[in-house]
């Protein structure tokens, strides 16, 4: 049986880990690969690097980061954030990313998922979906796309996505728990693994997301503030009866 995955997500800008409030007052938190290695030692099942610069400029440092991560990490990693199209996605996969998470570019042009799956296999193609009140949003939540998130998830899988990374903008940053209604609705439809994102504050929240059908759960601020929480979280999940890798 596949274990439930606990996946730290690192925000990256200009090749460095940053932390800030709503992209403002960004603080440099160090080298993403070094931090990812630390998380991997503490039991992270996978790492997500999210490039928040979201522009083509400044992708040089990102490609360098991906190359170093491919070389040094001993757990899988996904790269997402501002992938503008097929060339971006290809460059990241060719540089050594295990998976790319495509968000807006896939909403704009769903055939991108099919093309990437044909070239790299669907196991390398993650469709990242941001949702607010069940509707797909892009541009960091600023632009509503008039599509139902569950329907888009279903189409993304049909088109070749091998994994879904679904972030609830409503619960992101609240630490009050994942959006369980959304998680359950997508998991019931999806025939690929679903990673729930947005709202993790304690082990109970991850438990709830797994019970709702998620295969993995993104953790961010709780582990960034206190990396030692990571093994504790996994131990608590195991105590709660979940099959996790210790």
């Amino acid at each position: 049986m596949v274990t439930k995955r606990v996946i730290p997500c690192l925000d990256v800008a200009g090749g460095r880990v940053v932390k800030g409030v709503r992209f403002r007052e960004l603080r440099d938190m160090g080298d993403p690969v070094a931090l990812a290695e630390r998380y991997s030692e503490l039991g992270a099942d996978e790492i997500v690097f999210l490039d928040i610069t979201a522009t083509l400029e400044g992708r040089g440092p990102l490609l360098d980061l991906v190359g170093r991560a491919a070389e040094r990490l001993v757990v899988p990693f996904t790269v997402g954030g501002g992938i503008s199209g097929r060339e971006d996605a290809r460059a990241l996969l060719r540089a050594g990313a295990d998976k790319v998470a495509v968000n807006r570019a896939a909403v704009d042009e769903p055939s991108l998922l099919t093309e990437l799956a044909a070239e790299f296999g669907s196991q390398a193609v993650v469709c990242a979906i941001d949702a607010r009140a069940g509707e797909v949003v892009t541009h960091g939540g600023r632009k509503a796309r008039g599509r139902n998130a569950v329907e888009w998830a279903r189409e993304a899988v049909e088109r070749g996505a091998g994994e879904l990374l679904v972030t609830s903008i409503d619960s992101d940053g609240t630490r009050a728990g994942y959006d369980l209604e959304l998680t359950r609705a997508v998991a019931d439809e999806a025939t690929v693994p679903l990673i729930a994102s947005g709202g993790a504050g304690e082990a109970r929240h991850l438990s709830e997301a797994f019970a709702a059908g998620a295969e993995g759960a993104i953790v961010a601020s709780i582990v960034h503030e206190q990396p030692e929480r990571l093994p504790e979280l996994k131990a608590e999940l195991r105590e709660a009866g979940w099959h996790v890798r210790i």
């Binding site: 099942d45 025939t191 295969e215």
Partner: protein, 198 residues
């Protein structure tokens, strides 16, 4: 020890090359048939689509078959393990070093993605110390050996899948040792020891 990583244009080989180096090998990425034929250990580390991988592999296919004829160790990883077999439902055909097809997984959730426990079926030098360990899988197709070559299995939903094969000097693992933390490193160290004693 020199290990050739067969470069047939099927993705990035940096991860597996670095993992082999950590395990103590001297990895060389190559397309040269002579190098592929002669090296103490050849690794076929494919990711992605088997059809396009099989096409790319054509230029070194004979060298790999000659290795097998001469009992020189070859290790296939993920799609590289599938390439040891015959026709694939994904399109294309493997090297036919092992008999059996490669079929799409029949499960509710495909790909089979994530950490899963391997169960060793019979003692194998490749899998020493990893029985019951969790390793990382990411695949939508799997080999279905016609002969008794499976040395480990993994369960995904109701399906029992072949996690590792070994037959003489030909071996393969369906998981990604380069992304499987300490257990994966152990498998690569085992593979180096296995090829030294072959």
């Amino acid at each position: 020890m020199k290990v050739v990583l067969v470069d047939y244009g099927a993705g990035n080989l940096l991860s597996i090359s670095a993992a082999l180096a950590r395990a103590g090998a001297d990895p060389v990425i190559t397309t040269d048939p002579v190098e592929v034929r002669e090296a103490p250990l050849a690794v076929i580390a494919g990711v992605g689509n088997l059809g396009s991988a099989a096409r790319g592999l054509a230029q070194v296919a004979n060298a790999l078959r000659e290795r097998a004829d001469r009992s020189r160790p070859t290790l296939g990883i993920c799609v590289g393990m599938q390439l040891l077999f015959e026709a694939s439902e994904e399109g294309g055909s493997g090297l036919g070093l092992l008999r059996g097809p490669v079929r799409r997984l029949r499960a509710r959730r495909v790909p089979h993605m994530g950490w899963n426990t391997v169960t060793v079926l019979r003692p194998s030098p490749l899998l020493e110390g990893v029985d019951g360990a969790a390793v990382y899988f990411a695949h939508s197709y799997a080999a279905e050996p016609a002969d008794d070559v499976a040395v480990a299995r993994v369960d995904h939903e109701e399906s029992r899948l072949v996690a590792a094969v070994e037959s003489g000097a030909v071996a393969g693992v369906q998981f990604h040792p380069e992304r499987s933390a300490a257990s994966g490193a152990r498998v690569l160290e085992n593979a180096l020891r296995w090829s030294r004693s072959a």
